[in-house]
């Protein structure tokens, strides 16, 4: 699972946002803001991480249990898929 090309993660005044560039602007014109953990997951997805890797990364980064981590990962992936930001 990977984020589509031409989507750039930036931190602007303390807020993580996704900025589309090039051809992605027509497909997704706007900005999407991410939480701190969303940005953390986005960086993993940008290099093609799978769900189990994302859950493991969440467990090592945040003080949460596996059930919560998996639910958070699934919810985040669902949001990105809904907006057509994953391949």
């Amino acid at each position: 699972m990977k984020t589509k090309a031409n989507l750039i993660l930036r931190e602007i005044v303390g807020t993580w946002i996704i900025v589309p560039v090039g051809e992605m602007v027509v497909e997704f014109n706007g900005l999407m803001n991410l939480s701190e953990s969303g940005a953390f997951l986005w960086k993993k997805l940008a290099v093609g991480a799978e769900v189990d890797e994302l859950v493991a990364a969440m467990l090592s980064e945040y003080n949460i249990d596996e059930e919560t981590a998996r639910a958070d990962v699934q919810e985040f992936i669902g949001q990105l898929q809904e907006r057509g930001l994953l391949i």
Binding site: V13, G22, V26, G30
Partner: protein
């Protein structure tokens, strides 16, 4: 009603303004234009060598964009003059479009043909802002000195729509085109495009006498404002966030917003060229901080700040300086207009 995108932008701009981050900027790539609009402050001949020799190079614009992005720039307007007159426009735009900025292009659209529209569709800006100067060849002839441009502009708008590019229309109202206003509104509505109205022209940078001659007189300006009020209420009655603010600028100029002229001068906005610095000489960050500091030194106009009709008036230090030569002297033209507006 604002959508989530607009709400996010507003929130980011407020935060940036509080932290003095240059989140919103404009690059004026050229002072040359293929049209010759009588009220325009920046329309040198397209072959004017004295201008081309002083315009920043493509590499200089790209360097400034990169430095500004690293300093927090998110929303960038690329404007002119007419941007498509630059032979190296594609080089500049392609480099900047890949930097993670939300880019808006401002153009008169008369140089956008089928190939250029398709190219823009492949490297799409977030938005293209197009100014309309009339609703007929005749009016384009009177305002821009180029009647043929009208058809080119209309064709370009339809080509850009076909490419899926978001377009914002604007219209600058003056004596020569005020009677076209309804037809321009119809044109925008037919294509479902937003239309922003600039109804107050003030004498900025140069061309000052002509601007005063071609703008509406205060009474006609007030009549026009009353007519369009339901359409463009916000521009007629700007919401002042904090009337007790000790800052002369009630906008975000110098707090989160900047403008860089065709010869590389960073300033608060397009209108105010007496304040600023040169990023290529001192570095972007230092130039930005210098600009912010200079803005804080601009005196407040206490007459305007205490005026009971201030909410009906769109005055600011840049307009006062342009109209009166002082940052803190009320603009008679606007005072007259407001008096007509509230009493007619």
């Amino acid at each position: 009603m604002q959508n989530a995108y607009e709400q996010l932008l507003k929130k980011l701009t407020i935060q940036a303004s509080e932290k003095n981050i240059p989140i919103n900027g404009a690059f004026e790539l050229t002072a040359r234009c293929n049209l010759n609009c009588k009220m325009c402050y920046i329309h040198h001949q397209k072959q004017d060598c004295s201008i081309t020799n002083s315009e920043l190079s493509a590499d200089q614009w790209i360097k400034i964009a990169s430095d500004a992005r690293d300093a927090g720039l998110l929303n960038l307007i690329i404007t002119g003059g007419e941007i498509f007159l630059r032979a190296d426009f594609e080089k500049i735009y392609k480099a900047i479009a890949g930097m993670g900025l939300s880019v808006t292009l401002y153009t008169n659209a008369s140089l956008i043909d089928c190939n250029r529209a398709k190219w823009l569709g492949r490297i799409s800006p977030s938005k293209i802002g197009i100014t309309l100067y009339g609703a007929s060849e005749e009016t384009y002839g009177k305002v821009c000195g180029n009647p043929e441009a009208y058809k080119s502009v209309i064709r370009a708008i339809d080509l850009l729509i076909a490419e899926g590019i978001i377009i914002d229309l604007s219209v600058t109202i003056l004596k020569d085109n005020v009677n076209d206003y309804e037809r321009i509104v119809e044109f925008a509505a037919k294509r479902n495009l937003p239309l922003c109205v600039t109804d107050y022209l003030f004498p900025i940078r140069y061309n000052t006498d002509t601007i005063k001659k071609c703008r509406l007189d205060p009474r006609s300006f007030a009549d026009f404002c009353r007519k369009i009020s339901p359409i463009n209420d916000q521009s007629l009655k700007p919401t002042r966030k904090d009337l007790n603010n000790r800052d002369a600028f009630l906008c975000n100029a110098g707090k989160s917003d900047f403008w860089i002229t065709w010869n590389g001068h960073i300033q608060p906005c397009s209108s105010l060229d007496e304040i600023g610095a040169y990023p290529l000489e001192v570095g972007f960050i230092e130039a930005w901080h210098s600009l912010s500091k200079q803005c804080l030194d601009v005196p407040i106009c206490h007459d305007c700040r205490s005026c009971e009709y201030q909410k009906l008036c769109d005055v600011c230090p840049a307009k006062m300086k342009a109209e009166t030569g002082f940052y803190d002297k009320p603009v008679e033209y606007l005072c007259e207009m407001v008096n007509f507006y509230r009493t007619v």
